[in-house]
């Protein structure tokens, strides 16, 4: 493993200064993805700036109106176990509780989870200089692509890895980012970007910016659920996941958000499925229609056509569970 300096910050200002002070410095929260990149020789930073001791970034707070704020350093285990989140934002609790393994969830932060890099094996292997690493091709196109995307691909085709991002986009969350120019708040649905914008990145985090907080608007009155499909029942990456959040009015759906994970280069809003639900009562018929509409525009690769059927079935199942 490449050797580096390890700096520890206690405030976000210190962290930003420590980053700016030394070229090729990167942030580290739980470190799960950073250490993986170091071990795979994908990065060679001069300095890791550890933000785990920065105060004020590890609270979960629900205000009187039911709006939720989660500090970027809160671990996945804490999100999954939080009583308020379990009650009002069950899809988020579930996604975080099923991500990775108990040992990883005790260390991985929700901020790092949103900002982790893709898991496509060509990206993760040093020997493949793929388009995500400045090369000129995505090896998944002609290679082994059973875990790659059916939506939003081109010129790179890796699925967005974050389990937490899927329900967060469904709940209309926003991210608070603190940078050299000040603090900005970005809707999670706009933060993640397609590879045709820039194949080397998955989001719009700016140079020197720190994700400090995730804000989720009150979900009182919303019905929501999350489910994923894995090859193993136990700990494994999902091959498809789905989060659904709906508001009802007089027995039919007033608004709906349906977000798919592991099938697109970003957390993928199935807008046609959302439209299929609006105005309909929740039930077997609307669940079926949403499932069918969810795969609108799917472009499977050579080995991942099975994901199309899984999306249909999973969306149907999650919507039906809300009826």
């Amino acid at each position: 493993m490449h050797n580096f300096e390890l700096a520890k910050a206690y405030t976000t200002t210190q962290a930003r200064d420590l980053l700016a002070e030394k070229p090729n410095s990167i942030l580290k929260a739980g470190g799960i993805d950073v250490i993986d990149h170091l071990k795979q020789h994908l990065i060679a930073p001069n300095r890791l700036v550890d933000i785990k001791s920065v105060s004020g970034l590890d609270d979960i707070d629900v205000d009187r109106d039911g709006n939720l704020r989660i500090g970027a350093l809160v671990t996945l285990a804490r999100v999954a176990a939080d009583e308020d989140i379990k009650k009002d934002f069950p899809a988020l609790a579930q996604a975080c509780g099923e991500a990775a393994s108990p040992q990883i969830r005790n260390v991985a932060t929700i901020g790092g989870n949103l900002l982790q890099r893709p898991r496509c094996w060509y990206y993760r292997l040093e020997s493949y200089k793929c388009i995500k690493k400045g090369g000129d091709t995505c090896f998944a196109i002609a290679g082994m692509n059973r875990y790659n995307v059916i939506f939003g691909g081109g010129p790179a085709y890796p699925p967005h890895p974050s389990s937490a991002a899927v329900p967060l986009v469904a709940y209309g969350a926003s991210l608070v980012l603190e940078g050299p120019e000040g603090t900005r708040t970005v809707p999670a649905g706009e933060f993640f970007v397609l590879p045709d914008v820039d194949p080397e990145r998955e989001n719009t985090l700016g140079e020197g910016e720190i994700l400090t907080e995730i804000r989720v608007p009150a979900a009182a009155g919303k019905k929501s659920a999350y489910a994923e499909v894995r090859e193993r029942a136990g700990f494994d990456w999902p091959v498809v996941s789905a989060a659904v959040a709906v508001e009802e009015d007089g027995g039919s759906v007033k608004s709906a958000r349906i977000v798919l994970g592991q099938v697109a280069t970003i957390p993928w809003r199935a807008t046609k499925a959302e439209e299929a639900l609006v105005g309909q009562p929740l039930g077997a018929a609307s669940a079926e229609a949403a499932g069918q509409a969810a795969v609108d525009g799917a472009e499977p690769m050579t080995d991942n056509g099975y994901k199309v059927d899984l999306v249909t079935a999973l969306v149907r199942r999650v919507v039906a569970s809300l009826a």
């Binding site: 050797n3 580096f4 390890l6 206690y10 990775a100």
Partner: protein, 205 residues
């Protein structure tokens, strides 16, 4: 850049050393080049260690130990190579198998995916800290009785994860046991006996 933090190292040998002092002192070394606009007197100064080896103080199995390692050294390698605690195993070395599971303040973590420096200030418990061959913990004993191992390479990780599970949930259902142990893999496929050992221990209270 004052990387070696000699002041802090000297002080670590002096009586009355505390972690707080260490951070303060280390901070002075780092702050010389790290000019940071910190306001309140109560805000700690940032610290910088490495890339050369520095001395870390780790609380392992109830005692304080020092290791002198580069910041890139994982907790797993510090435990195994510096402290001769070889119970935690390096298997996948990527956070995927649980062979390296240890407790950090009572919670199971994968020691291969944590830097040793990040474990400073926390209580680390390895399988050696749970019991010894002469004085086995209830779960260790149950593993022997249930013959819950074949090659045994995964066993320390399962015992540590199982211990953490039972501490949180003394009477788990089979599904809860499977969830609690989901981060540990057994290449030999001894799962049913492992689950049995955990259930046995739970029943005995």
């Amino acid at each position: 850049m004052a990387r070696k933090l000699p002041a802090a190292e000297d002080q670590s040998r002096a009586p009355g050393f505390s972690r707080r002092n260490f951070l303060k002192t280390a901070g002075v070394g780092a702050a010389a080049s790290t000019v940071v606009g910190v306001g309140g007197a109560c805000t700690k100064e940032p610290t910088v260690i490495g890339p050369d080896a520095t001395t870390l103080r780790l609380r392992v199995n109830g005692t304080t130990q020092t290791v002198t390692v580069e910041p890139r050294v994982t907790l797993l390698n510090a435990l195994r190579n510096e402290l001769d605690l070889t119970g935690a195993k390096e298997v996948c070395n990527r956070g995927a198998c649980g062979g390296c599971t240890v407790l950090l303040d009572g919670d199971p973590i994968k020691a291969c995916m944590m830097l040793a420096a990040d474990a400073e200030g926390h209580e680390i418990t390895t399988v050696e800290g749970l019991g010894s061959p002469d004085e086995m913990s209830p779960l260790q004993k149950a593993f022997v009785e249930a013959d819950a191992l074949q090659c045994g390479f995964c066993t320390p990780g399962f015992v540590v994860s199982g211990t953490a599970l039972l501490a949180k949930n003394p009477d788990p259902t089979l599904d809860e046991i499977k969830d609690g142990l989901a981060g540990n893999l057994c290449r030999c496929g001894t799962y049913s006996r492992i689950f049995e050992a955990v259930q046995k221990t739970a029943r005995r209270g």
